[in-house]
């Protein structure tokens, strides 16, 4: 049982791993190997098919260590100590893992450090900025922070192309020094990291030099957490007492559930029970282990980062991810082309038991709700939304968040019910060139093609200097009937992100009114008329 080689703190938090664990010196740092795939941006949604595509990376890493912790799509971590001994050193392990992931055609970097936070940063040190040199240093005595200057990485990191170098390996005990030059913004604690530079604290090293008690006194719980991270420790001390009760929850399926949908539905209730059990003891879990047992006795186990932040719905969505990915793996391994559709519809064998085990218990500090503006969801609404989600899927019930942006379609970010999501583009900013009020009542998520002609029947065009070739007379939206244009205005040229070859675009916008009294928001892009929205 390789997972029993955790630190003493972790062992205390997880009673099922106490048996047979040798006594270790208190404070032995945990060696964590983080695997980072830059193809998944950090602000990408953490559910959905793109996120689940990360599964192939997890499967590749699982070949080296069965307990893979998924931090978010694009980042996963393993306890490096056991595998490193087996595979001949940390450097060899990191190299083997990056080679295995690269063999899938996915860019990947790996880093090893004491603790998950430092390991994530170590994995993201770009190649060619001292990383390779540091790796060559092996287990030498040279202090690594002299070789790696993360301040440089931070500024130039995005510009450095990935070149296959597996991040850096920070020697045991050197993590505080490795972290010290990083700017405090890497802590990613909203509201808090803005404050520190104003107080003259720019780097993690500056912050770590403050007395821990003073940091907690001045900045409260987030400050205490940040201070522990800056010193290279776990963000929250694990709860020192052993929980008296077994906090894991499980549900049996009899007869076995052949479809994943009822399992996911039950997982919502199960996660709710687990959260209630934890909350009753004032605890939160850092990770949750989800274990699905199949009819043939096979177990499917995965660890998910929780941090006390996941709602019951979000946990259930991860269960769906876990079951779907297992099925996809079965199809790829065993199934021929003929089994594809049937396997899509039902799980092989069926699930007899679903179990959730909270892992690494910590003190729950709670979350303060905003005084104004947070709509309180009543039980009645939540019940209805969950029932519809059970029928149509988690992503089918959405809540809108108004955002910034120029296009009408950009100005709304949709979040599945039960998840919280920040707007993709910040609101409350001027956004020059945005569509003025009133807003259109119909906004097409994908603009519809249209044809606009002048009185001679030729298509209306717009020159590079935003001059319209002839007044528009007839409009046909998406193959519909020709409508006479009674009034029109434009063109209003919009050039967005001209520095970005992939994301940049030029459009000339028009507003048109047709004979049926309808208003249209149209645009010409690359000579093609598009209907973006309609003022129904």
């Amino acid at each position: 049982m390789s997972s029993a080689r955790g630190t003493p703190q972790r062992v205390r938090g997880t009673p099922q791993r106490v048996r047979g664990t040798p006594q270790r010196v208190r404070g032995t740092p945990q060696r964590v190997l983080a695997v980072w795939c830059p193809d998944w941006p950090p602000d990408a949604p953490d559910t959905g098919p793109e996120a689940r595509a990360f599964e192939q990376v997890i499967t590749a890493v699982e070949e080296f260590c069965p307990r893979v912790e998924v931090v978010r799509p694009g980042m996963c971590a393993i306890d490096a100590r056991g595998p490193a001994r087996y595979f001949g050193g940390e450097e060899a392990l990191a190299g083997k893992i990056t080679d295995a992931v690269a063999a899938l055609g996915i860019a990947c970097q790996a880093g090893i450090a004491d603790g998950l936070f430092a390991a994530q940063l170590a994995a993201r040190v770009p190649a060619g900025a001292g990383g390779a040199e540091a790796r060559c240093g092996g287990s030498g005595d040279r202090p690594r922070q002299k070789v790696i200057d993360p301040r440089i990485h931070h500024l130039t990191g995005r510009a450095v192309a990935w070149a296959g170098a597996p991040g850096v390996i920070v020697a045991p005990g050197r993590t505080p020094g490795f972290l010290a030059p990083y700017p405090v913004s890497v802590l990613d604690i909203p509201g808090f990291v803005d404050l520190l530079p104003r107080l003259g604290i720019w780097t993690l090293g500056d912050f770590a030099r403050l007395p821990a008690a003073e940091a907690a006194n001045r900045f409260g719980a987030p400050g205490e957490r940040a201070h522990r991270l800056a010193r290279g420790l776990d963000p929250r001390p694990l709860t020192p007492r052993q929980p008296s009760a077994d906090l894991s929850v499980q549900i049996e399926f009899d007869p076995p559930a052949g479809q994943s949908e009822p399992v996911v539905f039950a997982a919502k209730a199960l996660a709710g029970r687990m959260h209630a059990g934890l909350a009753a003891r004032g605890l939160a879990c850092v990770r949750v282990q989800v274990q699905a047992t199949y009819e043939d006795g096979q177990d499917l186990t995965r660890l998910w980062r929780h941090d006390g932040l996941l709602s019951a719905l979000a946990v259930a969505e991860r269960v769906r991810w876990q079951l779907d990915s297992w099925r996809a793996g079965q199809d790829a391994r065993g199934g021929g082309p003929g089994t594809g559709d049937r396997a899509e519809a039902s799980l092989v064998g069926g699930i007899t038991r679903l179990r959730m085990i909270p892992d690494q218990l910590v003190r729950d500090e709670g979350h303060q709700l905003g005084l104004w503006g947070d709509a309180v969801i009543s039980d009645r609404v939540a019940r209805a939304a969950i029932r519809v989600q059970a029928m149509l899927g988690h992503e089918a019930v959405l809540r809108p968040v108004l955002a910034g942006g120029r296009d009408p379609a950009e100005q709304v970010t949709l979040a599945p019910f039960g998840d919280s999501r920040a707007p993709l583009l910040p609101g409350g900013r001027p956004w020059p060139g945005r569509i003025p009020a009133p807003a259109p009542a119909t906004v097409y998520p994908v603009p519809r093609p249209a044809l606009v002609t002048d009185d001679s029947g030729t298509a209306v065009g717009v020159t590079g200097r935003a001059v319209v070739s002839a007044p528009p007379v007839l409009l046909s939206a998406d193959g519909g009937p020709w409508l006479a244009v009674t009034a029109w205005a434009g063109p209003w040229p919009v050039t967005e992100r001209w520095w970005d070859a992939a994301g940049g675009r030029r459009r000339a916008r028009f507003q048109l009114v047709t004979e049926d009294g309808n208003g249209w928001l149209a645009a010409v892009q690359d000579g093609q008329w598009l209907i973006e929205a309609s003022y129904d």
Partner: protein, 268 residues
């Protein structure tokens, strides 16, 4: 819970519409809570009992009793009018669900008075849309539904029964036999845009309400739908005489309503 919702604490349902209609007895709502502070402020007719959802001030004359709970309201086709009706849920501080409208303009809905923080969107209710609508009617005060297919009489009766049982209002985009009330846009005219200049600033629309029983008499009103700021307001009957432009005669023979002089409006 959701970032950005806080921005709308000041943009509460009803308050902007009130400002543009200039009526002192507008539907005042405490920011952030969506609660009505005092029945007297909101007009005696709409809050005489809790058996109706109060409507936006602009629709008071068309729907003097509000939207009776358990009723079905039909709207001829998809338009901003549907969103204005859906905003009735936000006036009362309740939740609204919109099903079957994948291309909804949420910004327009928010401007019309619908609270986006209390809104559920189901873009595609799929084949089982009657079950989805029934579940939503259980949870939300108001459900705006665009049925993917023409509903059978059995489905209609079932959803009407569900709405009655839970005291919620079903607003249907399209036709619905047996609807208690039916609101349609008879005529509409955009202002602020000409041939080659200006921009869409506001729209004058004649909204006609028909109904059964007590609401039987047909009523028509001219509304700014939307007004220059996106909010909905009653278009004041102007003293400007005959109206130029695309509108017909200065008086509507059927309803005896004066058509407002939209030329005199300061756009923008």
């Amino acid at each position: 819970m959701l970032n950005g919702i806080g921005d709308y604490a000041g943009r509460v349902p009803g308050s902007r519409a009130t400002a543009s209609s200039g009526s002192p007895a507008g539907g005042c709502v405490i920011p952030g809570t969506g609660q009505l502070p005092d029945g007297a402020l909101c007009g005696p007719d709409v809050l005489s009992g809790s058996d109706a959802l109060p409507v936006l001030p602009a629709l008071r004359e068309l729907l003097p009793g509000g939207l009776p709970r358990g009723s079905v309201v039909a709207t001829g086709s998809w338009s901003l009018l549907c969103l204005v009706l859906a905003a009735s849920a936000s006036v009362a501080g309740g939740w609204c669900a919109i099903a079957g409208v994948p291309d909804l303009g949420v910004a327009a809905a928010a401007d019309a008075g619908l609270d986006p923080g209390r809104l559920l969107l189901i873009a595609d209710p799929g084949e089982g849309w009657p079950q989805v609508a029934a579940s939503l009617l259980d949870g939300c005060e108001l459900v705006l539904l665009r049925p993917p297919a023409r509903p059978s009489a059995q489905v209609r009766r079932r959803l009407e029964a569900v709405a009655r049982r839970h005291g919620s209002v079903l607003v249907v985009v399209g036709d619905w036999d047996g609807a208690q009330c039916r609101l349609t846009i008879a005529r509409r005219e955009w202002t602020g845009i000409e041939a080659g200049h200006g921009r869409l600033r506001a729209r004058l629309a004649q909204v006609v309400a028909d109904g059964r029983g007590a609401a039987g008499r047909s009523r028509a009103r001219w509304l700014w739908l939307p007004g220059p700021d996106g909010a909905v307001a009653v278009a004041a009957a102007g003293a400007g005489g005959p109206v130029a432009g695309g509108l017909d005669a200065g008086w509507d023979g059927e309803t005896g309503e004066a058509i407002p002089a939209w030329r005199g409006m300061s756009a923008g």
